[in-house]
């Protein structure tokens, strides 16, 4: 089922890096970013044409700011597109995104290596 979702995404977004079997990722977080976009699309938060336009804008913006566009940064643009759309659609504001980002940073700092990093209430108060 998830592969059918992924196939729909790769058909709609021709720029997704892929091989014969489907999308390829350079790091685990890239797969997470990819999967989140699939889920949000599935929930009707955006259409693929909408996503493609937002991603193209993001890439254009990055290139104007000097991104070498070698493909290595593709999922950074993907992530920025996700954040932008999530904010624009009223799912979560940029302030909220920053607050959670800082909380995760705090959680990582207080977690000894070897323990799973978990977010707690205290991380938001730091």
């Amino acid at each position: 089922m998830s592969s059918a979702l992924a196939a729909a995404a790769t058909a709609a977004i021709p720029s997704i890096p892929r091989d014969d079997d489907g999308p390829v990722f350079r790091a685990p977080w890239e797969a997470h970013a990819f999967a989140m976009a699939l889920s949000l699309h599935e929930r009707g938060v955006f259409t693929w044409p909408e996503w493609a336009a937002a991603l193209a804008d993001e890439i254009k913006r990055a290139q104007a700011a000097g991104d070498p566009d070698t493909g290595e940064t593709y999922y950074l643009h993907w992530l920025a597109t996700l954040e932008g759309l999530v904010a624009r659609k009223g799912v979560a504001s940029m302030e909220t995104l920053h607050r959670y980002r800082d909380a995760w940073d705090h959680a990582a700092d207080r977690t000894p290596h070897g323990k799973p990093i978990e977010l707690r209430d205290e991380d938001f108060k730091a």
């Binding site: 089922m1 998830s2 592969s3 979702l5 992924a6 091989d19 079997d21 489907g22 999308p23 390829v24 990722f25 350079r26 790091a27 685990p28 977080w29 890239e30 797969a31 997470h32 970013a33 990819f34 999967a35 989140m36 699939l38 889920s39 949000l40 929930r43 938060v45 290595e72 950074l76 992530l79 996700l82 954040e83 999530v86 799912v91 979560a92 909220t96 995104l97 920053h98 959670y100 980002r101 909380a103 995760w104 940073d105 990582a108 700092d109 207080r110 977690t111 000894p112 290596h113 070897g114 323990k115 799973p116 990093i117 977010l119």
Partner: protein, 211 residues
């Protein structure tokens, strides 16, 4: 191990670190999950589908080169991170990647009993079982039993060494080159190298066997 942590309380690597990008991804994932836009199980299912696709199979290329080039193999076993860095095509490996060689006398197997440290730059995403508590705990106590579960039967006279990853050091197994591959190119050889053979829970494919 907890003793160890106390001793190195102020060491840089003693706490967990997430890159700026990973922090943003986690923030987004947490919010979307809390608001019900994303089901963690559904997300996992999508990610699992690609677990073998992440990373450009760097590990297989490194192993194939070590099989073909004795000087590279020597350098690799001396300093894994440095030798792999010299190839130039791997964007980043940990500072301390140690390569351990399988021989007719000794089989190596990698585990992290603390968490699931894993050289994903070399091997792609860790398989689910690698992160599972039963694998982690049993691998140290009963490596032969765990290997048997993977269908890897080793003669009794072969020593099994289990390497426990730490915050600073991660391990990659250099499997033995399969027989019948004389004269093969590095590209052909790399095709035989499986992920499991580089964790030590499997062997490389044998020439001619259906993949």
């Amino acid at each position: 191990m907890s003793q160890d942590h106390d001793d190195h309380h102020h060491h840089d690597h003693d706490h967990s670190e997430l890159s700026e990008t990973e922090l943003r991804v986690r923030a987004l994932e947490t919010i979307l999950t809390e608001k019900g836009y994303v089901e963690p199980a559904a997300l996992d299912a999508i990610i699992q589908a690609y677990e073998t696709k992440i990373g450009p199979h760097n590990g297989a290329r490194v192993v194939a080169k070590a099989w073909s080039d004795p000087a590279f193999k020597t350098a690799l076993l001396e300093d894994g991170s440095k030798a792999i860095g010299s190839l130039g095509h791997v964007s980043r490996v940990g500072d301390h990647l140690v390569v351990v060689e399988n021989t007719p006398e000794r089989h190596n197997m990698v585990v992290c009993t603390l968490c699931s440290c894993y050289p994903w730059e070399m091997l792609g995403l860790p398989p689910v079982w690698y992160k599972a508590a039963p694998y982690r705990s049993r691998a140290v106590k009963d490596p032969r039993g765990v290997l048997a579960d993977f269908g890897v039967a080793l003669p009794k006279d072969i020593e099994i060494r289990v390497w426990d990853s730490t915050a600073e050091t991660r391990f990659l197994v250099l499997p033995m080159r399969p027989a019948g591959t004389e004269g093969w190119s590095e590209e052909q050889l790399a095709e035989l190298v499986t992920r499991d053979s580089m964790i030590g829970t499997g062997f490389p494919k044998t020439p001619g066997a259906p993949s």
